[in-house]
């Protein structure tokens, strides 16, 4: 799975996710990536793209939950990402996600051993990584 989240200078957030799904999946299987609120979500507050065990992400509605805990619980972006990874995945569910906020923050989280990721911000911050 690949994904990208962006907030532009106008504070507009957008998210996109694309995937081939699971190796050896049944024909006709649909995962989290195209499901609004599961693998992909964006609103005025933030944008989120997920990757990992599709069925676990679907059950946890991970992407929407990041926005929801920011909106209803008042959490910051990284706090929201951490909360969702820790609290919203089933036991053993493995996933990762990336997020940006309308304030120009970036955040990511995962409970797998690694996630291919990169982020950059207008202040010059730039990072590419795989492991924790």
């Amino acid at each position: 799975t690949v994904g990208c989240v962006v907030v532009d200078k106008e504070g507009r957030c957008a998210a996109a996710t694309s995937t081939g799904g699971l190796m050896n999946k049944m024909s006709g299987r649909i995962g989290d990536s195209p499901i609004i609120g599961s693998g992909t979500y964006a609103c005025k507050l933030c944008a989120v793209s997920c990757t990992g065990e599709g069925e676990a992400i679907l059950r946890g509605t991970l992407a929407r939950d990041v926005a929801a805990v920011m909106e209803y619980k008042g959490l910051g972006l990284q706090e929201a990402v951490n909360f969702v990874i820790k609290e919203r995945l089933d036991d053993g569910g493995k996933a990762g996600l990336i997020a940006v906020s309308n304030k120009g923050e970036v955040a990511y989280g995962f409970n797998t051993n690694g996630m291919f990721r990169g982020c950059a911000a207008e202040d010059g911050f730039m990072e590419v990584g795989i492991w924790e």
């Binding site: 989240v5 962006v6 532009d8 507009r12 996109a16 005025k44 051993n113 990169g118 730039m126």
Partner: protein
Amino acid sequence: MGRWAIALHGGAGVDPNLPLQRQEEAKQLLTRCLNLAISALRSNHSAIDVVELVVRELETDPLFNSGRGSALSEKGTVEMEASIMDGPKRRYGAVSGLTTVKNPVSLARLVMEKSPHSYLAFSGAEEFARQQGVELMENEYFITQDNVGMLKLAKEANAILFDYRIPTTGLECCAAEADNPLMMNGLPINVYAPE
């Protein structure tokens, strides 16, 4: 004026023994995509344009599991899916079951912008793609030799792999790691490759 920011991913769940060369290739691709996005944002492109631009680039490179390089179904075919969402306007487009569309994310955007719907799948999505004139490829274009090998291993292991791929180092890898106590879906953790 606010501050722009971008994050991107190429999948979670990475073989801890992923060769350094593969790690470097992944980092180079991620860096190239970041630079593409930075340049677009500095040129005042909108967030929705930039996410599509970046995901198209990732789909076109066979390194990660999307577009060319997608994981294979049990039939050895590629069935791709993608989505895109524009936050402020609350618009959404998604596609599933694509077998010929070179860049699924762009078709998802067309669903969002040019159809009265949010989500098209399988034959309907393919028909919409033809109507819209997007670039189409034979299914073979999306299939890499690495993934053919991974599917073979997955079938031999009788496993559906949750967004992870078995590296092409072969079954001897699985045997070599048989003593590893960390398991996922019935297989040692380090037989899994990204996505």
